[in-house]
């Protein structure tokens, strides 16, 4: 198969980028999208060109490292897969394929198609964890978890943090990502303890990092490679409002006493 690629090239975070056109030929329909890009890079290397930088790691669809905004969709045209699981048979021979980096103020471009997604890590650091004391391992099943809650928590926990939700969102909002993280932990008894603090801290961190607001267009759900539901965003909104309106205040003992 032959393709015309329009790829965003940018030297570094401050440089001005542009779309550059490349032709690739003799691509197998069964090769993955990255194998196709590898073929292009091999050609660029042998002709003294500058290979295209892109993020990838496990190439199994589970690590959340790969990105790419392909023909107006994060992770390309196939639903429920990451870019590394996308194959060239999803395209037609002779197609022009636009490949762009995730675009968001909170995701600065490192080089070409590689963006810095550490903003998502910062949000996790703000509250996406449970505090566990060291000591002996507790017996299994000592804390009862209702089946429905564990199902929903597991569904939310499938988020691989790739940032496709931010890329797809017309407002570059990270609400689906945070909704998934908040839901995953708030649904389980281990996460309930810090739930009120967590949701407030994570939302505050998200706002500070310059992500947009949710306008409920649901592009995030449609393009999430793990099919995370926007019901998680509603759950986060409930958690947030509940925390703001009803959470207990910490008692501070005055120094003088």
């Amino acid at each position: 198969m032959n393709f015309t690629l329009k790829i965003w090239r940018q030297k570094n975070v401050t440089a001005k980028g542009e779309m550059v056109s490349y032709d690739v030929s003799g691509i197998s329909p069964d090769s993955s999208f990255f194998e196709m890009l590898d073929t292009l890079n091999q050609k660029l290397i042998t002709t003294d060109g500058d290979p295209v930088a892109f993020d990838h790691d496990c190439r199994e669809g589970i690590c959340g490292t790969c990105s790419l905004y392909i023909n107006g969709r994060p992770h390309g045209p196939v639903k429920g897969v990451t870019t590394c699981q996308l194959h060239m048979r999803a395209f037609k021979d002779g197609d022009t394929i636009f490949i762009e980096p995730w675009r968001a103020k909170a995701f600065p471009i490192v080089r070409d198609l590689v963006v810095d997604r550490s903003a998502l890590d910062k949000i996790i650091q703000a509250g996406g964890y449970v505090s566990v004391n060291t000591g002996g391992v507790p017996d299994a099943n000592t804390i009862p978890v209702p089946k429905e809650k564990s199902d929903s928590a597991f569904d939310a926990a499938t988020c691989i943090g790739c940032g496709a939700c931010v890329a797809a969102c017309s407002n570059a909002a990270a609400m689906l990502f945070i909704g998934a993280k908040v839901s995953h932990l708030a649904l389980l008894p281990q996460g309930r303890v810090e739930a009120a603090k967590r949701v407030q801290n994570m939302v505050a961190c998200m706002d500070e990092l310059g992500f947009g607001n949710c306008s409920n267009t649901y592009a995030c759900e449609s393009d999430c490679p793990k099919g995370i539901s926007v019901a998680n965003i509603a759950r986060m909104n409930r958690e947030f409002l509940g925390a703001k309106l009803f959470s207990e205040k910490e008692k501070v003992i005055k120094e003088s006493l």
Binding site: G72, R73, R103, T217, N237, L241
Partner: protein
């Protein structure tokens, strides 16, 4: 207002929006009295009631506050959304989303322009800020309405405005529920259907009056 978190802003906007949605229903009820073939008696009585009842007077202040809150937060939130993606994609988004949901700001602006004009045509006359057109008494909303709707371009603008409002509401109602956290497999589909039906009913209901005046009254 700027310091509120993104979710707080959205929740206040949603609450104000839902309040405005219920107000539309009341307004439509009064407008439909124009269809009654009694020379505008029922309509004028309703208009007088709305203009003089002390409870309505208080509700009117709440209503204006609702409008201001919804518009102010709409502008702030939209501004932030725009700045969250400084460089646009070369290939615009082709995700499967409801088409109209991306144009809430644009439809909102059109509705706002209509609202401004509507204020000039009715409310400002009522409070004495603007003089009524010659031959029409300050509180004669019936004659004022008939005069406006007998102008085809005004009726057309009015109908287009309400179609745009219908588009705005079609996304707005289910969106408000989602923002307030009311999303559940039990009722979310019903909310979407009811929201769509309501938006069509509002657009159609308000549009009936100018069509009636233009084609059936003369």
């Amino acid at each position: 207002m700027l310091l509120y978190s993104s979710i707080t802003k959205k929740v206040l906007m949603a609450l104000a929006g839902l309040f405005l949605v219920t107000f539309l229903c009341v307004h439509l009820g009064i407008n439909l009295m124009l269809l009654k073939n009694d020379g505008g008696r029922a309509f004028s009585e309703a208009a007088t009631f709305m203009g003089t009842n002390p409870v309505i007077k208080v509700a009117e202040i709440v209503l204006f506050a609702g409008f201001l809150l919804h518009i102010a937060f709409g502008l702030i939130v939209s501004g932030q959304n725009r700045s969250a993606r400084p460089i646009a994609y070369a290939r615009s988004n082709s995700s499967d989303t409801s088409f109209f949901s991306k144009y809430m700001f644009h439809t909102g602006i059109i509705v706002f322009i209509f609202l401004a004009l509507h204020f000039c045509d009715f409310y400002f006359i009522k409070i004495g800020l603007v003089a009524p057109p010659p031959g029409i008494a300050v509180h004669d909303f019936y004659s004022r309405t008939l005069l406006l709707f007998s102008t085809p371009w005004y009726s057309l603008f009015y109908i287009v405005s309400f179609i745009v409002l219908g588009i705005h509401l079609n996304h707005a109602i289910q969106s408000a529920f989602q923002t307030l956290g009311w999303n559940h497999s039990k009722y979310t589909d019903a909310v979407k259907v009811i929201g769509s039906v309501y938006s069509v009913a509002i657009a159609a209901g308000f549009s009936i009056v100018p069509i009636y005046v233009l084609f059936f009254l003369n």
